[in-house]
Structure formats: C-alpha cells, structure tokens
Amino acid sequence: MENNERTGVFSMLVTNEAGVAARLTSLYARRGYNIDSFTASPTNDPKLTRITLVLTGDDRKFNQIFTQTAKQEFVHSISLMEEHDLYRELLLLKIKASKKERSEIKEIVDIYRGRIVDLSNKSLIVEVTGESEKIDGFMNMMENYQIIDVCRTGITGLRRGDRGLGEE
C-alpha cells in the first residue's frame, strides 16, 4: 500500500444479467484497479444483483472508481461504505485434527463463536462468520494446526440506517 492508501468497500446494485461481472472486472483491470475481494448475490428484486467490492486506493482513486462505475449502464446505484457500516465475511476451514486435538480446537472455535460443521476421523471443517479482523484473528490461531483447505467468501456489507442503496 502506498501513502494515503486504504481499503475501500463499494456496495452496488447492478442489473441481474449474464456478463455483468465480466464488465466490472474488465473496467477495473483496464483502469488499473486491483480488486481485493468481490462478492455477488441475488436480491429480493430478481432484476437486481448486489455486489460488494473491496479495493485499495486513496481518495482520488476511490473517486475515479466510483464515477467510472456509476456511469456504467448496468449499475443502478453505488455507495462507498464507511468505517462504521456493517461488514461480514464467512470462513470455511478444513484442518487435520486427531481425536486428541479436537477438544482444544473446539475451545478456540467457541471463543470465536464458530461452529464445527463437518467431522471425520482425521479432520474437521469449521465455519466462522464475522468482520474480517475476527476471521484474521481466528486464522492466526489456527496456524498451529495443519490446514488442509481454506475458503473465505470475501466481504459483504450493508450501510447502517433506514435507507436502502440508491435512496441515500
């Protein structure tokens, strides 16, 4: 990260149609913006998809990302989220765990309010939800064990308050 660079989370509603992700990633690639994380999901309105994007930059870059994105035909509304808004990420982690290790892993998982969602003789899968910092913290704790597979969804989030995106 260069000076004044920080993480920015953009939340947007886009037309729910094939190729929208390609259009967005093409835009960011050709303008030289690296995407740190990208999540997309349908909404209550079948015509719209919610996308949460995490990028790194300074104010000027964020302004470019915002205006370049906002003018795309398929973008209905976009917002640069603020620090105090609500962010969540989900982690699925498969680790080697002998019978002996199981209980101590469970202790850590409980502290992080996670759940063990799959269990076999030699391994288990943990699910943890929370802000990215919490997931990072949990991952640190798990470094003492042998990680087989890890999958994080990337950040998704909503602005706090009564209004929806585009009504701000």
Partner: protein
C-alpha cells in the same frame, strides 16, 4: 404488425430517423441484408470495401451531422473489423450504433464458423453492448442502444444479434425513440462560484474541448469570451468552436499547439476547462499544467473531474446548459492588457517551412483554404498532415473538421470522408492524408467511386511515416527504424485504376492547377499526390510529459 427480427431492426432504425447506414454483408447477416433489400427505398445502405471503412464512415457521418452513425456487419471477422472504428468513436465521444449478426443461438459458444464474442471484445471501447439471443429482447436493446449512445457523454453501443433472432418473428407496434437521460443537474451555488472565480480573475484562459462541439455550445462559448474579455485555447476536437478571426482565439493548445495557447495556459491565473479532458496531448505534464492557475472544470462526465488534473472547482454538467446559466452572472470586465499580451504571443507563431523543398504543407493547406467555401468539410487521417491542417486551416465552424483525436487512428480519413459526404451532401468534402495513413485504407476509393462521391484526397506524400520519423529524428538520434519503407506507389495511376481521377503536384502552381480541376468534379473522387520533403516537421512541439518551457519552436 408481424415482422421478423431483421425487419424489426429496419423499423427501429427508421423510428430513430436513420436513413443511411454503412456496412458489409456476410453469412450471419443474410437476413438483415434481405431486410435492407426490402427497405432499400427507405434506408440507404452504403457498402464499403472493408468493415473498418464502414465503421469510420458511420463515425464521420455522426461527426458531420450530430446524428447517430449506424454500421452493420456480419459475425466473426466482420465484427472484429469494426473494433478500431468503434474504439475511435469511443475515444472521441461520437454517438454510434453498431449492429452485428452472430451465429445462430444453438451454435453460440461452440466455436462455430465465423463466431466471435464481439459483445465481449468491445466492452472496453463501448458505452454498452448487447448480445440478443431472444427476439423478445431485440426491440428494447435497439431502442436503448440509441438512448445510451446519445445520453450524457456520447459514444458507441454495440448490438449483436444471433442469426435465428434475425429470422424469428414478433408482433411490432410502432413506437418512439426513448428520451435520452437528463443531463446531470448543477446548483445555483456552483454557477455563482464559477462566476465569482471568473469575475475576480485577472488572467483567465478558456480551454475548450470536444464537449463544446458535441453539445453545440460554440455560441455560448464565444459570448463568454466576449463578455469576460477572456482568450481561449482549443483542443484538436474543438477546432472550429472558436472562429479563426475571433480576436481572443489563441489557437490550438497542447503538444503541437501554438506558442500563444500554451504560454497563456501556463501564465493564466484561472483556467476554465469546458468539455475538455486534460488529455496527455494537452496537459502533457499533469502536475505542471496551468501551474499558476486556479482551475475550473465543467464536463458532462463526472469521471473526468479530477481524473488527469486536480481542479479547484469541478462541475458535472452539460456545457451548453451551464454556460447559459453562467453568462448572466459574468461581469463585463476590461482585460485588454492580458488579452493583448497573450495575442502578442500568437503573432510570433509564423508558418514553419523547415525544408528547402518546392512544395510545403502550409502552402497546400492555405491554397485549399483560399479556394474552398465556408461550408467545406475537412477530414484528416493521423500524423503530420493532421497537425498541419489543425494548425493552418482557418477553422470557422464545428463539425467541419473531422479527425481522430483520442485514438489517433491512421486510416480513419477515407471512411470518415465517405460518411461525411452522406451526412452533408451539399458540402464539399476534402480529405487530407499522408502516404502512410492513406496506404492503410485507400481501398475505400472503390466505395467513393461506386457512390460517385467527389471527395478530394490530398496526399501529403513525403515517402516516410512522417510523425514517427520526426520523433526518431528528435528523440532517437535519427535512427529511422521502419519509417522509410521505400514504397513506390504511383498514386495518380492507382486512382485511375480505381476509376477515380489522379493528379500529381511538385510545386504550388501544379497543386493550384490540380486542385482547381478537382473542384470541378461532381461525381468522382480525385486524388492529388503532393510531393513534400521528409524533413518537414510539425512545429512547435512540446515533448511528451513536458511543459511550455520545453517547447521546440524551430
């Protein structure tokens, strides 16, 4: 009324006032061309030699008229051949709708013969693209294509239609074009802030770009210059916005701009950018450009504000609407000292004749200017001749100087000249080109011949790729790598072979004679091969990334 997809395309085109389209047929486009046959009394299809020529023709048509240019091509190579033309239009914000046929829906994604994902390929160079695989989506896509192309900052939109959709039938009810999106709104406070900045300024300079031409705001611009007693520099895209005789016109700014324009922008205490985008050919060094000035930027595209150069006051607005609101708030103020200082710099820019040759570009251009009327449309290719015509022509009107600015597309000119001929059939079209640019797309001569277009092509033939040759001379110690190809093309003979008329000129007299004869032609194109020297350079010149301090004058 029951129509097939291709007939639906025709009806929607007619609803949008389209009576001329440019294109090239092919297998996937057979149904569309069958409909063009049926509608040939209402829609004139101009077939070019190559799809690229058709795309530049649609672009040239749009630039000359302000209407939407329409180009049609088949799938695969037909579609990819459009991309340079689409990108050219995109970079200069020209409204265009490109309609391509693709393979049938059941073949999509199977690497079928002449299949290409043109709606993906063109994403970076269009405002939007559509791939239509269902007849029910066709009408809406076409209507939206025209809306998008003409809303806000204009530009090209591509509609790719699978072959089965062009044959499928649907009930069609005549409709109206969708209204364009409203221009971004601005506030009274913003108008007042800009007015205050102008009113207190001692040394303001307007820097106007293609946006002024696009929204037809030349009149308001000239009014602002007069009321505020403010000189103006223009970009290549805005040539003609400020009349040649305007006593406050500084000429073109930027890399090959006038001393006056560049010096005035450098010395100004206020820079008023109108519909311009601080490109690297004008704001060569974004940190030092207009370094003494407060900066105002008015542009219809919010993403242009603070993109290249940080400004003190950015307004997202249609330039014409904004100037209309601004003018009553501008105080008349005598800035004659500043204007005469800046215009004094202009007087110092003389014609540059850097070689001892018999025929100089400046002479050719002056003669053309003197021998043609005010309605003449000048179209250029890209390179030295383009800069010379930008510098030496006495631009008086917008839409009468047609050139590829942003993308700098060599080979743009002939297609664009053909398009302009259809857009402004009562105007004489003069096509300036270089031997390098012309070699790229001179095949369109066959189109000009078959359409009986008296386009006059003036070839500034220096036997080299002049602009790159010049850079190699200045920055690469004269290592002329691949710019001196030793071609032996006999242009007059080639013109005759195409069925056009060809002349050759080695002196001003020979040129005047050939050009006078060319002007008498009414139904066939003419080429005049003008032999100029290869050491004739475009000056002044500010090297890339430089400032006015680095200007090479002669």
């Amino acid at each position: 009324m029951r129509l097939n997809g291709s007939e639906l395309v025709m009806e929607i085109l007619m609803e949008h006032g389209v009576d001329t389209v440019f294109g090239y047929p092919g297998g996937a486009a057979l149904n569309i061309y069958d409909a063009l046959y049926k509608y040939s009394d209402r829609i004139n299809h101009v077939m070019t030699a190559h799809e690229q020529g058709a795309s530049h023709a649609a672009d040239g048509y749009a630039r000359a008229t302000g209407k939407t240019g329409v180009v049609i091509a088949t799938s695969g190579p037909g579609a990819t051949n459009l991309t340079t033309g689409i990108a050219t239009a995109f970079m200069d914000s020209i409204p265009m709708v490109a309609i391509t046929a693709n393979v049938a829906d059941n073949l999509i994604g199977r690497d079928a013969f002449q299949e290409v994902a043109i709606s993906n390929i063109t994403i970076p160079v269009t405002k939007h693209t559509y791939l239509i695989r269902n007849i029910n989506n066709l009408e809406s896509a076409l209507r939206n294509a025209f809306r998008i192309a003409n809303s806000g900052r204009k530009g090209p939109v591509l509609v790719d239609i699978t072959k089965d959709v062009t044959a499928a039938t649907i009930n069609y009810k005549p409709g109206k074009p969708l209204p364009v999106n409203p221009a971004p709104s601005f506030t009274e406070e913003q108008v007042q802030q800009v007015a205050d900045m102008i009113n207190v300024s001692e040394r303001p300079v307007i820097y106007c770009g293609g946006g002024v031409a696009s929204c037809d705001a030349a009149e308001e611009l000239n009014e602002l210059m007069a009321k505020a007693d403010c000189p103006a520099a223009y970009t290549l895209m805005a040539a003609g916005c400020v009349g040649y005789d305007n006593p406050r016109s500084l000429g073109m700014g930027g890399m090959h701009g006038t001393i006056a324009a560049n010096k005035a922008m450098d010395r100004a205490d206020l820079l008023i950018a109108l519909g311009a985008r601080f490109s690297d050919r004008v704001a060569l060094n974004p940190e030092k450009f207009g370094k003494r000035a407060q900066k105002i930027h008015v542009d219809i595209d919010a993403s242009e504000i603070n993109k290249n150069v940080i400004v003190d006051c950015g307004v997202t607005a249609d330039v014409k609407e904004f100037l209309t609101a601004l003018l009553p708030k501008i105080k008349e103020k005598d800035r004659s000292e500043w204007v005469s200082l800046a215009m004094g710099w202009k007087a110092k820019t003389g014609d540059v004749k850097s070689s001892a040759a018999d025929l100089h570009p400046s002479e050719i251009i002056s003669m053309v200017g003197d021998m043609t009327d005010k309605d003449t449309v000048y179209v250029t290719d890209v390179g030295q001749h383009q800069m010379w015509t930008a510098q030496y022509l006495k631009h008086e009107k917008t839409r009468h100087f047609i050139t590829s600015g942003g993308l700098g597309t060599m080979g743009f000119g002939y297609g664009a000249a053909i398009g302009a001929s259809f857009g402004l059939p009562d105007c004489r079209i003069i096509h300036f080109t270089g031997d390098g640019s012309f070699h790229m797309n001179l095949n369109e001569a066959c189109t000009a011949v078959s359409q009986k277009l008296p386009i006059i092509t003036i070839i500034m033939n220096n036997q080299v790729l002049g602009m790159v040759y010049q850079w190699q001379d200045v920055f690469y110690n004269g290592r002329h790598s691949s710019t001196d190809p030793g071609r032996a093309t006999n242009f007059p003979a080639l013109a005759e072979a195409f069925g056009a008329k060809g002349y050759s000129a080695n002196t001003p007299d020979e040129f005047a004679d050939a050009f006078a004869k060319a002007l008498k032609e009414t139904d066939r194109p003419v080429w005049i091969d003008c032999h100029i020297a290869k050491d004739e350079f475009v000056l002044p010149m500010i090297p890339a990334g430089g400032t006015v301090e680095d200007m090479i004058i002669g």
